[in-house]
């Protein structure tokens, strides 16, 4: 069988626009739009963000949703299990647990957020300076951190409480910030040391970028992805740290509740009134899980290499 050679006439277009560069159809996006688009793709992270929003909403409006307040004892309703009047039941002094949980959430979430953010910011700034400038600056800062880390943080806490007066949230946040930045500083310094020898940072320098430019535009964005997970991980530990401080009398003072305090006081009666213990524990657990998942999703979304 003989074959006839194919000519141009044997081909016909199968539709679609011809001669148009498919690239030109690509929509323009900005960095943050891209981050958001990819964040949404991560279902777990997206749901967690919604849960966090819900928690914040309940913390704001929850205490006002029933007629009880968090501090009035009512000895006629001691240790009631959850029912239609007291939605989460009552505690050993007859206080409404629903109200106390959300009232305590205000304290716990505020401390968790600010007590994580401030030490992180201080740590990043100091660690960034230390790593970037290196040499003697680095030596002095790192030895200072070594010394500060060698002193138990409780000692600062007690001293700060003496100076500022114990029991209010502002003091607690200041105390947590002052004692908590060293870890962040060390980790940031390590990352900066790794990055500053990389060619793209050297390129910034040869283009005339100042130290501030390089730290803000090149180093911090590249570090943030690594730090964001550990930032969200430290939120639950701050919540528990506050609980511990409350336990030894350095946290918020009763009758103002916090999740840590609720867990602590209910722990004594756990065998008889488990709901008093389980409900605040669940709040801490849900918060912890949500922040972790959001952190995870955020890290993936922030890094263009991990985007799909």
């Amino acid at each position: 069988m003989s074959q006839t050679p194919l000519t141009e006439l044997d081909f016909e277009p199968i539709g679609g626009e011809i001669g148009l560069d498919p690239e030109s159809k690509r929509k323009k996006t900005t960095y943050w739009k891209d981050v958001w688009r990819n964040f949404k793709k991560n279902k777990a992270a997206f749901v967690s963000l919604f849960v966090i929003a819900l928690l914040i909403l309940l913390v704001l409006i929850g205490p006002g949703m029933n007629p009880f307040d968090y501090r009035t004892n009512d000895y006629s309703v001691i240790n009631f299990p959850p029912d239609s009047v007291h939605w989460f039941g009552t505690d050993t002094m007859g206080r409404d647990i629903w109200t106390r949980v959300w009232e305590g959430g205000r304290v716990s979430l505020l401390i968790a957020l600010l007590g994580t953010l401030f030490p992180e910011l201080i740590g990043m700034a100091i660690g960034g300076i230390s790593g970037y400038f290196g040499g003697k600056v680095d030596m002095v800062i790192m030895r200072m951190i070594d010394v500060l880390m060698g002193i138990p943080s409780l000692i600062y806490m007690i001293l700060l409480m003496l100076v500022f007066g114990s029991g209010n949230i502002v003091t607690l946040i200041i105390a947590i910030s002052i004692t908590g930045w060293m870890g962040a500083a060390r980790s940031t310094r390590g990352l900066v040391l790794q990055l500053k020898g990389r060619d793209f940072v050297v390129a910034s320098k040869t283009l005339g970028g100042s130290a501030g430019w390089i730290i803000l535009r090149r180093l911090i964005p590249n570090i943030l992805g690594y730090r964001v997970v550990s930032i969200t991980m430290s939120i639950p530990s701050v919540i528990f740290y506050e609980a511990f401080l409350s336990y030894i009398g350095l946290g918020v003072t009763p009758p103002v509740p916090s999740w840590g305090q609720l867990i602590k006081s209910a722990g004594e009666n756990f065998r008889y009134y488990p709901y008093q213990f389980i409900i605040p524990c669940m709040m801490v657990g849900i918060t912890m899980l949500s922040f972790n998942l959001v952190g995870d999703g955020l890290r993936d979304a922030l890094d263009p290499r991990l985007r799909t």
Partner: protein
Amino acid sequence: MSEPRVLLELKNVKTVFKVKQGILTAVNGVDLVIHEGETLGLVGESGCGKSTLGKTILRLYKPSQGQVFFEGRDIWSYSRRERKEYTRKVQMIFQDPYASLDPLSVIGDTVAEGMDIHRITNSRQEREKQIMSLLHDVGLNQSHVDRYPHEFSGGQRQRVGIARALSLSPKLIVCDEPISALDVSIQAQVVNLLKRLQKENHMAYLFITHDLSMVRQIANRIAVMYLGSIVEIADSEDIYLENRHPYTRALLSAIPIADPVVEKSRQRMVLTGDVPSPVNLPSGCPFAGRCPHAADLCRQSVPPLREISPGHFVACHRSDELPHA
């Protein structure tokens, strides 16, 4: 033809680093001149101080001795403003196209970084226009402007790096092994691109490489470096045809020849021993330990760089006695 104007001059530049074992001398008293618009090839094996020399010119390392003059001024006597101005005139292209771009920046922003730092463009539209024309100049698709570096191949990334270096219209670009990380077919493309850009923008290149066959395609003059010192410097063709230093000959003899019959039959000059450590340098000629022609004199005194014919300098005591190439 009038004498080309001197753009950059190194006078007895020495760059050292403190290491645990002592003092590491990366660049050991280099004298070098780069003229406006020329390409000076700088060749030598790994660790001979090529990159350090390049970075010393960029003011990334401060020489411990000697001076670097740019347009007649010592670059270490600059004021703060002059320092910033200097970064506009001297730029760098990096070896590793994977490490030299910020993974979090789209290439448009990477290319525009210099313009942003020096506040060159006044409006968004102007910035955009500049980026587009730079991408066009280096042969990149303009619709790639909002893509991230990981979406590109090595050759494309290197083009981004070149566009970034060009963005400030520099007078000198230090190309630190710009092609050694690339595929051979891409190497030629990038070299041709660099040549074309040089013609259009009248820039000078310091082209650092260890690839002798490629440097011939681009360099007007070639300097051969060994253990921190320049051992021979001459016009490109002279280095290949009229070379006088034994080290240059050894390097050239390491270039493989594409014809297998010639390759098999030719006599290669193979060096014995290793490069001495740049920590605590040997006395005398740095090459004496491995040189087949070394005499007592070579082990005792450092040979100066002498001009043996116009523009051809050799640092060898015995260059006159050796047979011609």
